[in-house]
Subunit: 368 residues, 3 copies
């Protein structure tokens, strides 16, 4: 059933849409090279079917919804939300093989997740935790952008935030990020990069946040705790607190962030193809959560920052395309990205026929 | 001489242009992957030459006509309408091999037909009969559109009109078409699908025609007699008559259509490449033939219907391109299209070297 | 080090930019399939580096200049003008292999020349002579255009000026060019085509020049002395003089051009890829050299003529692409182009491993 690829696993949950995007009409999306049509049934459940009629391959997303069934826009074949054909024009007997693939779907934390691999393995409990996106103690919103690059370049980008200094100098970047030490750790399916910058000048974005929320204008302690969960989710715990107010964890004890402002940058990046992806993100905060204007302002502000990344990521993909076989080199700052890449490699390797499996290599060079 | 392809025969007449398109200037057209330049000579005959100068491959269509000769726009080589070079710059002696290919041409029934295969086999008598297009007892007009799909998808489309119900619901489609029984027959080079719908409500288009021509507003008997002639011509005898007025043939006797309105949808679809085609069509009628306004209105109305098909056909081609090797499945309604495909296959098979020929298979699955 | 190609040698100087194009910012250019970034250092020297960061391939041309060093716009790696990395974010020790390729550069005769092949062979003395472009006894100016064709098609075009009659009939072409005899000679790395047209009507362009500069309106002796220097420079000595005033060389003696007007069409065509090129040209004259308005007018006039060539060259390239494996045929007028092609072939052959070298064939058919 599964398409063999080398850059993404199929047995994983991928965000296919924001919850609000799926309504009582037909939405076409591509996930892991598979064309899907999504719609919401009358009972509110989301259906995800293969976007090609069994008969003549016409995209079903160009047809129409009739109750909970899909009518093909060419010859009128009808499919139910399990993908079974329930009506054919001019004939009484339906071919029992007439169906299109239905995908496992879970709606959770404001995203619609689909499973492009073996349905028997699709466990709803393994959807990545992005609860800040609909937790009433947090406020925020996000967007989806289509980026013309390998989704792993976005993961690389998020796992190393020193790029903020050079790409986002006018908002969240300053010299402190590029020069601060960090710690990288990892588990079976996750990798974490933790960076504390103590007693620094806040960059413009955070200076404005802490001034607005706490009326504070001095030096800050800043944190970035980046957590990757394979194959493509990266949640980043970010914020600043009054310098020396106890936010920094000491001796194994968590810090006290009560004199600070805290946000989560939530990212999940779904490969459409080997070289394009759907980048879903949100920014949630735990301060001034009733201020709708701030939610709006932050969403648009973060969108502007991500547009800067988009330019870089697409230029990088073009550079890769122009140099087939050229390898990346790694710096110390790439420790987190390298772990993320290895975990992805491991997930892909598990899907290969046993004979074709090779052990995950510990070399510092990342093949792309 | 012939280019080997798998989707169209070369030994066939193909419409390259409407008569009015070929004038005293140079028209570039692609037929069966071959680039042609067409022009009308002083005596009114049409010449069709290979569109590439013998010398440096410059498209001759970018040159100019001088009398009945073509002058290349780069170095001024001159060719006569048989494709022979008659002048070279700065030299007296002409290389005797200096010529470009000339194609057999016939102008008939308002189309300019060319023969891309072996000229020795080009019999003008085998041009498809589309006489309604210039018969004084019929009135009408048509257009040419370029569609980004395999020409055989257009043939499929025309051989099964149940799609009218779903694609053209606001004009010629209604439930009756999708549900009516039909009869499919075939000969050596043609296939026919006949559908009669008795005592039905006319769809909007036909209701307007019979009201205008006959002042009639009740139930009708409607017919669609689709005749395919290989490789790519489909003429459709269509119309409605007062229900029960005798239009339906009985006991081997033709019906009496005098209380009805009759039209012919004339279609010939020329492959440009494996995935693009030139779709020539006309609509001719035998009622109110002096009404120029009606001719104009019908041409634009039918053009609107064909634009609906164009969207479907191009979406279908993209779906095919995305799924190499995927096969079509067939329904009962595809009987006519399947015969058309087999007849095309047979024409192509005859052009293969004897050793490479395989018998026409009777399987119900159409490989694309 | 060198990319193996079949259509251009790598061990050669290629114009990458006009002098004025390279300033204190970053200019991206492609030469022989290699992406370069060019900039002018504080001391006025031009640096040319590989346009891809060692770390993650980000195009350095999207970064910024800091003094004489380049800062990558993604993670802030810094390179000096020799391509060595001098700074990495968050780490003290630099990987000694961290560098990007630096190209030999010479600025001469108003062009910035780069050497994409083996730097050990890059002898500044072998830059083609285009001194008319900055000689105070001559006045003129030029432009660069990007043409979507194999650079050798431009060389072919310049080596045979009979095309002026057909492509440039309204300016520099007339029947005389296509019919006049010519002499083609060649050396180890150059080929020359000489054409004299005695006692003819000047074409519109030259009639205007000699009237303006000399007040002369009668018959002229016209010359075109085309000199190719491998792999891609073509300088053309052109002009007209009063008919019979002694401009034509006789008995091995140079002619007296004092009753004439003389220009040089300077051309050097740099392959970007196999099918695109950067076409640098200038027109320099030795009359009315103080007239800035004339310089402006001639530059725009010649630009218009070259736009006519551009249309022809791109149409020719498309025709070639559509007919893989199709060969060109040659006429007598192609003697100069054939020699140029052979000299290019010889330069390419010298770069092949000895075992792969084949002798330059004397056949009259040019394979493309």
């Amino acid at each position: 059933m599964s398409v063999s690829t080398s850059s993404f696993p199929l047995n994983a949950w991928y965000a296919a849409a924001y919850d609000v995007e799926v309504r009582r009409n037909l939405l076409a999306r591509t996930v892991c090279n598979q064309k899907l049509v999504l719609y919401r049934r009358g009972d509110g459940q989301v259906a995800a079917l293969e976007d090609a009629c069994w008969h003549r391959l016409m995209p079903l997303s160009l047809g129409r919804l009739e109750g909970d069934e899909l009518v093909c826009g060419y010859h009128g074949l009808v499919y139910n939300s399990q993908g079974r054909c329930t009506h054919m024009p001019s004939q009484e007997t339906l071919n029992p093989s007439a169906c299109v693939r239905a995908y496992p779907v879970v709606e959770k934390h404001r995203f619609v997740w689909v499973w492009p691999g073996d349905p028997a393995l699709a466990d709803p409990a393994s959807v990545p935790d992005m609860h800040w996106n609909d937790d009433p103690a947090w406020a925020g919103d996000g967007k989806m952008i289509r980026v013309a690059c390998d989704y792993r370049l976005v993961v690389d980008n998020l796992m190393d935030l020193t790029h903020e200094t050079f790409v986002h100098g006018s908002s969240i970047g300053n010299r402190a990020v590029a020069e601060a030490p960090f710690v990288a750790t990892h588990g079976d399916r996750s990798a974490t990069v933790t960076r504390w910058m103590e007693n620094i000048d806040a960059p413009p974005f955070w200076a404005a946040q802490i001034r607005h929320a706490r009326g504070y204008e001095g030096k800050v302690d800043r944190w970035q705790i980046i957590r990757f969960e394979g194959p493509c989710t990266v949640n980043i715990d970010v914020g600043v607190a009054e310098a020396g107010s106890g936010a920094v964890p000491r001796d194994g004890q968590p810090g006290d962030r009560s004199r600070g402002v805290n946000g989560y940058v939530l990212n999940t990046i779904t490969p459409e193809t080997e070289t394009t992806c759907l980048y879903f993100w949100a920014f949630a905060r735990n301060y001034c959560i009733g201020e709708q204007r701030l939610t709006h302002e932050l969403r648009e502000g973060v969108a502007g920052i991500f547009r800067e990344d988009e330019l870089v990521l697409e230029a990088q993909q073009r550079a890769i395309d122009e140099r087939p076989g050229r390898e990346f080199h790694n710096l110390n700052i790439d420790a987190g990205a390298m772990w993320a890449r290895r975990l992805i490699e491991g997930m892909i390797a598990k899907e290969r026929p046993a004979a074709a499996r090779i052990p995950i290599r510990p070399e510092p060079t990342v093949r792309i």
